[in-house]
């Protein structure tokens, strides 16, 4: 866009241009500056605390000492529950919206509207819902299961959106060819269309995991606060994001470990985010070449 040559005839026009350019560049620079400030601050204070033992030891002294091993285990467990529920449900909904959308018009529209609204619900309300439904109504109590199921509800719209787009992008020729060969719809979907849409699915998955891992408010009163190593899915477990919250707000002197935990969380998200970018870039490339 900026490559379009803008001609300005009047001298004052040029000066205004320059002034505006400085202004907007400052805005952009300011934002970048905050980014680097935050990241460097976290890095400076947290890096020293990072070590292999930090990741493998259990927290001691309310988290002021030791490591985050149990926290990591809880986080992974919650993620596991979240994904094992949201992946099959989300993929199925995406298949319906992408492949059967035309035939199921009103139903598909309703589903889509509901998912759009779901995507906008604030995380604290998810927490309220999770508490009322999973913890109390279903009797699961403060547990990894409750937390994971609540997160599954949050992550569904992200998964569905990405997978649906991936399926829509699969060229129609494949569907025609499969039909002409007398293949049933289910076989076509499972053996041809979904495999072709896998990169989009993975991107959605990675984005969903990223959202889940960053989530705190929805977990505060669903998965519990206990920092011990969980022994079952019905045990309460503390996720990494909650640990950071607890260390910084409720534990005086917990800042050092909070910094380190924040770094671990950011590192995790960075890895996931680059994976998503890498996969989607390569997928876009492949699509372009094929066309």
């Amino acid at each position: 866009m900026a490559d379009i040559v803008f001609v300005s005839r009047r001298h004052s026009g040029q000066r205004i241009d320059r002034a505006v350019q400085v202004l907007v560049s400052l805005a952009a620079l300011g934002i970048c500056a905050f980014f680097f400030w935050i990241v460097s601050d976290l890095f400076a204070h947290g890096f020293g605390e990072l070590s292999w033992s930090f990741v493998t030891e259990l927290p001691r002294d309310a988290g002021r000492g030791g490591g985050i091993a149990s926290i990591l285990v809880s986080t992974v467990a919650i993620l596991g529950v979240c994904l094992s529920v949201s992946l099959p449900l989300g993929t199925s909904a995406a298949v319906l919206l992408a492949e059967l959308g035309a035939r199921e018009d009103r139903f598909a529209l309703l589903v889509r509207r509901c998912l759009d609204v779901l995507a906008g619900v604030p995380s604290i309300v998810f927490g309220l819902f999770g508490n009322a439904f999973f913890c109390v109504a279903l009797g699961l109590g403060f547990s990894i299961l409750s937390g994971g199921l609540t997160l599954a509800c949050m992550v569904l719209p992200i998964l569905i959106r990405s997978t649906e787009e991936g399926l829509r992008a699969v060229p129609n020729e494949y569907r025609m060819a499969a039909a002409a060969l007398g293949m049933t719809r289910s076989r076509t979907i499972f053996r041809v269309l979904l495999p072709a849409a896998v990169p989009a699915l993975v991107v959605g998955l990675v984005l969903g995991i990223g959202r889940a891992v960053a989530e705190t408010a929805a977990l505060i009163f669903t998965s519990g606060y206990v920092a011990r190593m969980p022994t079952s899915f019905l045990d309460s477990g503390r996720a990494l994001s909650l640990h950071i919250y607890d260390l910084s707000m409720n534990v005086p002197g917990g800042e050092a470990k909070a910094y380190a935990s924040a770094l671990v969380l950011l590192a995790l998200l960075l890895v996931l985010g680059s994976a998503a970018l890498g996969i989607s870039d390569r997928w876009l490339q492949r699509r372009m070449i094929r066309i």
Binding site: Y174, M176, A180, L181, G182, T184, R187, V192, P195
Partner: protein
């Protein structure tokens, strides 16, 4: 090269009988009141200008028309004893017996081997050996075995256009169809691949009945036994004339046919 293949000419047992077929897309009529017979074991060429409903005709024969939203088909199509458009007809079965090759080759984004095996797997439980045998057989039939026999696990998308089209034909052949519908199978190919596919079509007619839509009059003259000439009249495709290729080229009944065939440039 005579226009009729030298294999034994069965008395023209009709295999597909089309009666008063009309195909509509919403309010637009693509085909009006077409009545045509496809004899068993022949190669029928469907010719005519663009937009005269030739592809719609093919789609009505294997019910791919079902997949087009807003498409209605009236009239009857009989495939042997079967009423193709009856509500209780097993469509999957029909499409295996009546295969289709598209203008633009469309192999699946899978390996060469998987492309052929995938539709097969739905038919029955084949053993690994049976699958391998069938894959080799059809690839030999289309003349790809020498080139690709040792790289069956390569992606089908890496093949050239001509190879991809022959792969699609092999894939359809694996289902042992009785009829092959081909929608301008050579038009997206370069002349050399086109010639190869054309030779293949003639060879295939020994085991299959073939209906091929083509823009290439010379090709139609070379390979087909029967000819069906379509034209657009009153905004819809209609059948002007049909009969043996030999006769239609020599003595066209309709003036329109004569005029159209005159435009043929070798």
């Amino acid at each position: 090269m005579t226009s009729s293949p030298s294999h034994l000419r069965l008395p023209a047992v009709p295999l597909i009988q089309i009666e008063s077929l009309s195909v509509r897309y919403g309010s637009k009529t693509a085909l009006r009141e077409v009545s045509l017979t496809i004899p068993h074991g022949s190669i029928t060429a469907v010719i005519g200008p663009s937009g005269c409903g030739k592809s719609s005709l093919l789609g009505a024969l294997n019910r791919l028309s079902d997949l087009v939203p807003g498409c209605t088909v009236s009239g009857t199509v009989r495939f042997g004893e079967l009423d193709v458009h009856a509500a209780d007809t097993n469509v999957q079965d029909l499409r295996r017996r009546v295969g289709m090759i598209f203008q633009k080759p469309n192999p699946f984004p899978l390996s060469i081997r998987k492309n052929i095996e995938l539709p097969l797997r739905e038919r029955a439980r084949f053993s690994r050996a049976q699958l391998d045998e069938r894959v080799e057989r059809v690839l030999r039939d289309v003349g790809l075995w020498e080139e690709l026999g040792d790289r069956l696990d390569d992606s089908a998308l890496k093949l050239s256009g001509g190879q991809q089209q022959r792969l699609c034909i092999a894939r359809a052949l694996a289902l042992e169809p009785e009829v092959l519908l081909m929608d301008e199978p050579c038009s997206a190919l370069d002349p050399i691949s086109s010639a190869t596919v054309e030779d293949l079509i003639v060879r295939l007619s020994e085991t299959c009945t073939i209906v091929v839509v083509t823009h290439n009059l010379a090709q139609a003259r070379r390979i087909s036994d029967e000819l069906a000439f379509f034209w657009v009249r009153d905004d819809a495709g209609v059948l002007i004339e049909s009969g043996s290729t030999h006769r239609v080229f020599r003595m066209p009944h309709a003036e329109l046919t004569a005029a159209y065939l005159q435009g043929a440039r070798g």
